[in-house]
Every structure is written in structure tokens, then in C-alpha cells.
């Protein structure tokens, strides 16, 4: 077999694999959407949930998911970014660095319930934060940091050293090179990492059951004073997210339309992530253009 036919076969094989993967993924998405979309209605998206009667919605849970996601990202992104910059741009390649990397990777294999319980004992009980969005955001930060750090570090690796050398040769300090040259160039790929971890945060349930809690008290959407308990902005209120809601309905839900709510919520979740992806990508593209051409 000469190398040309080999090439053809291999490329064909790759097409096949990619096609199969797309097929599996689309089938999965299709399954979720087909069973969920018919349940959706304006009422479903905005109404508060009901404990045991028909006709509950997921409005508060949907809002909580987004709020928690934003808070968790506000806390974890700067930390992960800083750590990744240090690991890749400053740290020497010695055993200490390797140990830190390994430890971070190991952390990501812990089941989220362990992170959740840790968060419960530490944030909720010890620090008296109570079952609150803030506790949840901290727990998610713990859970999120390994993956985010790792993927930002990988993004930095995709920028070729020529750019670094260029920056340094122009007399910029290392830090300036990183912030002015490397980071802007790495924006699209950092964004992928952020979206991926945002997805995980969105879908996470076990870590939140013990921290952000699994009840969704009614919110007053006209009250934006973050110190009021019913204000949507209050970070100290318990907040059940959509993923936790799905988990709760499936495990102990006794409302007659539990199945419909569960599949509807799954579809909402998927659509929300989809919109989030598009928005993040659009913003990222604009940011990239502004930062690199300016």
C-alpha cells in the first residue's frame, strides 16, 4: 500500500469518526430537545416552582443559575488566570511546578459531592455564610479552578514564543508582554476554556446541594437592593439552580407533572447554554479584534 492510498484511507477514517461523533452528539441533543421543547411556555419559564401541584415553572431557578454562574466566574476567573500566567510564564520547569500541576489535576477527579460537603462544612457551617449563593459560588470556584487553570495555561501555550521574544525585544517587561501581547492573542482560546467550565458550572448539581441549597424562595424582581432577602441580587439567599432542580425533581419530586418539568428544564438548560455560548463567542470576537488591532 503506498502512502497516497494510506493517506486517503486515514483521512476517510477521520471523516468517519468525526461524522459518528457528530451523530451521537446530535442524537443526544435531539433527544433532550424533542422531549423537552413541547413543555416550554412563557409560564413555564417565568413562574415559580410548586412543591406538589401541577403547573410549576422554573423562572427563579433559571435566574439563579445565571447569577450563580456570573458570581462563580467573577471569583474563579481572575484566580485561574493569574495562576496560569505564573505557571506558564514565570515558573521554572522543576519538580515543584510539576507537583502543583499534578495536584491540580488530581483535584479535578474528586466527585463533586466531596467538594460540596467540604463547602458545606467550611463555608456554610464554619464561616456562617449559610446556605447561600455565595457559599455556592465558592464551592463552584473550588470545583472550577483546576479545569480553568489548566485550559488557560494551554491557551497561553498556543501563542508562539516569537510573540514573547518580540515583546521582550521591544523593551517591554515580561508582565507587559503577557498583558499587552500574549493575553489579547489568546482570547479566543481562553474563551473556549471559560465556556467549557461555565457549562460544567451550569450543569453541576451535587456540589450545590449542600452549599447553595435546594430551595428557591420567591424573588421580588422589582427590588434590586442587594441587602433585601427577596432581592434577586442578594448573594446571601439560598438559591436552587436549574440543574439542582432537575436533580431534585427526579429524585424526590411528587408533583404529577414531574417528568414534564424535568424534561422541560433540561431543554431550557441546553438552550441557555447554547445562547450563552453564542453570546460569549460574539463578545470574545469583538474583544479580540479590539485588543489585537488597537
Amino acid at each position: 500500500m503506498n502512502s497516497k492510498t494510506q493517506n486517503k484511507i486515514a483521512i476517510g477514517g477521520l471523516y468517519g469518526i468525526a461524522g459518528l461523533v457528530v451523530l451521537i452528539l446530535l442524537a443526544l441533543l435531539g433527544y433532550i430537545l424533542v422531549s423537552g421543547v413541547p413543555q416550554l411556555s412563557w409560564h413555564f419559564l417565568t413562574a415559580p416552582g410548586k412543591a406538589f401541584l401541577k403547573g410549576g415553572g422554573v423562572g427563579i431557578q433559571l435566574y439563579n443559575s445565571f447569577y450563580l454562574l456570573i458570581l462563580a466566574m467573577l471569583i474563579s476567573f481572575p484566580i485561574a488566570l493569574g495562576a496560569a500566567i505564573y505557571l506558564y510564564e514565570y515558573a521554572k520547569d522543576n519538580w515543584v511546578t510539576t507537583t502543583i500541576r499534578t495536584a491540580i489535576e488530581i483535584l479535578s477527579s474528586l466527585p463533586s459531592v466531596v467538594v460540596g460537603l467540604f463547602g458545606f462544612l467550611f463555608f456554610v457551617v464554619k464561616l456562617h455564610l449559610g446556605f447561600s449563593i455565595l457559599s455556592g459560588a465558592f464551592a463552584l470556584t473550588f470545583f472550577n479552578l483546576p479545569l480553568l487553570t489548566r485550559s488557560i495555561e494551554d491557551s497561553l501555550r498556543t501563542i508562539s514564543d516569537v510573540q514573547r521574544e518580540g515583546g521582550l525585544a521591544l523593551g517591554l517587561s515580561r508582565w507587559e508582554t503577557v498583558t499587552r501581547v500574549i493575553l489579547p492573542a489568546a482570547v479566543p482560546s481562553i474563551l473556549t476554556g471559560v465556556i467549557l467550565s461555565a457549562g460544567r458550572v451550569f450543569g453541576e448539581a451535587a456540589a450545590l446541594i449542600y452549599t447553595a441549597g435546594q430551595s428557591a424562595p420567591a424573588l421580588d424582581f422589582t427590588d434590586w437592593n442587594p441587602f433585601n432577602i427577596s432581592s434577586p441580587l442578594n448573594p446571601m439567599r439560598p438559591a436552587e439552580t436549574l440543574a439542582v432542580h432537575i436533580w431534585k425533581i427526579n429524585s424526590e419530586g411528587i408533583m404529577p407533572d414531574a417528568k414534564a418539568i424535568s424534561s422541560g428544564s433540561s431543554a431550557v438548560l441546553v438552550i441557555a447554554i447554547l445562547l450563552f455560548n453564542f453570546a460569549a463567542r460574539y463578545l470574545g470576537k469583538r474583544l479580540y479584534k479590539r485588543l489585537t488591532s488597537a
Partner: protein
């Protein structure tokens, strides 16, 4: 005199850029130290709770690792609590390895396709779809597994359909997005001129991919697989629904068995902190950390070998 002193002072003073540099270094180091603190805190927390089984409840480590019967609430024939974790260790090990073996070729193949063969289609279809799937909660995966995968396995292989095989199928789909998108990042990190040089030497596209790009990206690909395995390892809810979650030694790939995480997640809310039952569950978490460390080291070794060739 005065002017030279001023000049000297001015020269000795750190420039704005140098100050910024120190600041930047300090900030990024602080961030890293924060993460290290988090890692140490969690690992220390799990270890302190997990070791209590052996120190304060006097369970022998060997019984724990080799026993086949898991009933922490009940005393066994020898009058000691039955805390044999072997079935779960084997279950976790098998399911992680199998799903990684199945997912890796698919993930790397897809990543290669996205990056080397058809970047356009890759960026437009594959990447958004894979990223979307990461966010689906495990419960949903579990339910699809329960209503699609388990009956299929039952129809083809007999038995109840619950078992490692069904678990592998579900985990395969769950870790695919993570591994794929991280692999794609690793491939993207390979400099363009590697490919150009290889193609200029007359290599075909496949030869370039296989002999140059994949080789150069090996460490990154290994990381991707490690993270995929980590996710498989740590996944509980979805696996628990399709593997059967029975603390029995797996006789075959279709007999109900359990993983460390599934037993941990099912039991933890029902036990009282500080009791043997609870400590035994934390010991499972400790085993999990330890096994994940071992996996990590093995993969790293393989990765180093791959790079040298």
C-alpha cells in the same frame, strides 16, 4: 554634587515598568498560591477524615483494600465491620480505563478533523456542539442511559442491562466533549511551521498528522486524556443509575457493580459525621484521590515515552 545625587537616585529608582513587573509577578503568584491552598485544604480535609477509619475505628488497611463485602453498618463474621472496598476499586478502575480507551480515539480523531482536515466545519458544527454537551447535568445523562442504553444492553447481552458496559457507554459520551476540546487545544498549540516543513518534505497529510502533529502534541493530548479520566472517575450520578450500584465484584461487564464515587454519593447523606459508616465513605474518597494520582503518573510516563520517539 546635588545633581549627581539626584541623577543617581533617579537611576537607582525602579522604573514604572519594573514596578509593574514585580506587581504582576506578585499577583499571579498569589493566585497560584491560592489554588495551592485550595488543593491542600481539600486533600487535607479528605485525608484527615479518610484516615480516621484506620486510626480511630481500627479497621486494618488490608481488610479495607482486599475485602469484598461492603456493609459498614454491620459487623461481619470476624466481629469487625464489613468495609471491603475491593469491588468498588475494581469497578472504578475498569470503568475509567474502558471509557478512556473508547473515548480517546474518537476524541483525538475528532480533534484532528476539527483542526487539520476541515477547520471550517469543525469550528462551525463540532466545537459548539461539544461545548454544549459539557453543560448537560449528569442526571439527564443518567436518565437517557436508563431509558436507552440499559435496555439496549439488556437486549443484546442479556442480564439486567445494568453493569460496567452500560456505564462505559454513558461515560464515553460524557467525557467525549472534555477530551475533544482539550485535544483540539493541544493540536492548535503545535506551531504551523512543523506542518509546513513536513508537507514540504513530501509527506502526505496523514503522515504529517501521524508522525509530526500528534507526536508534537503528545503531552497536551495526554493531559486531555487525564482530564477525561478524572471526569470519568469523579462522575457519580449518571454512572450510579446505569451501573446498578451494587457493591459486588463484577463477574462480567454486564453484571451490576459499583464505583467508589457512586457508593460515596449514595451513602454520604445517610450517615452521621464522625461515625464509622461516614469515615469509611471518606476513605473511599481518599482511595479515589490516590488512584487518580497513580493514573496521572502512569499517563505522564507514557506521555514522556511518546515524546522521545
Amino acid at each position: 554634587m546635588k545633581t549627581t545625587e539626584q541623577l543617581e537616585a533617579k537611576l537607582k529608582r525602579r522604573s514604572k515598568a519594573a514596578k509593574l513587573e514585580i506587581w504582576g509577578r506578585l499577583i499571579s503568584l498569589t493566585a497560584l498560591m491560592l489554588i495551592v491552598a485550595v488543593v491542600v485544604a481539600i486533600i487535607g480535609f479528605v485525608a484527615s477524615k479518610g484516615i480516621a477509619t484506620f486510626t480511630s475505628n481500627h479497621v486494618s488497611l488490608w481488610d479495607f483494600l482486599s475485602g469484598k463485602s461492603w456493609n459498614p453498618g454491620v459487623n461481619g463474621a470476624n466481629g469487625k465491620p464489613e468495609v471491603g472496598a475491593l469491588p468498588m476499586i475494581v469497578g472504578s478502575f475498569l470503568i475509567t480505563i474502558l471509557s478512556a480507551i473508547v473515548a480517546t480515539p474518537f476524541a483525538i480523531g475528532t480533534a484532528v478533523f476539527m483542526n487539520e482536515i476541515s477547520p471550517n466545519k469543525g469550528a462551525k458544527i463540532l466545537q459548539p456542539v461539544t461545548e454544549l454537551l459539557v453543560g448537560i447535568p449528569s442526571v439527564v445523562y443518567g436518565f437517557i442511559g436508563l431509558s436507552v442504553v440499559v435496555p439496549t444492553t439488556r437486549a443484546i447481552f442479556g442480564g439486567s442491562g445494568f453493569g460496567i458496559l452500560s456505564g462505559t457507554c454513558v461515560l464515553f459520551v460524557m467525557i467525549l466533549p472534555t477530551v475533544t476540546s482539550m485535544s483540539a487545544d493541544a493540536l492548535r498549540a503545535v506551531p504551523r511551521y512543523y506542518r509546513e516543513a513536513s508537507l514540504a518534505l513530501g509527506a502526505t497529510q496523514w503522515q504529517t498528522i501521524y508522525k509530526v502533529v500528534l507526536r508534537a502534541a503528545t503531552p497536551g493530548l495526554m493531559t486531555a486524556v487525564v482530564f477525561g479520566m478524572a471526569r470519568a472517575f469523579g462522575e457519580a450520578l449518571a454512572v450510579q443509575m446505569v451501573i446498578g450500584n451494587a457493591a459486588l465484584m463484577p463477574n462480567s461487564l454486564v453484571s451490576p457493580s459499583a464505583t467508589l464515587t457512586s457508593v460515596l454519593t449514595t451513602g454520604i447523606g445517610n450517615t452521621v459525621m464522625g461515625s464509622l459508616q461516614n469515615n469509611a465513605l471518606w476513605s473511599l474518597a481518599l482511595v479515589l484521590l490516590f488512584m487518580s494520582l497513580v493514573f496521572n503518573l502512569i499517563i505522564r510516563l507514557i506521555g514522556r515515552k511518546g515524546r522521545l520517539q
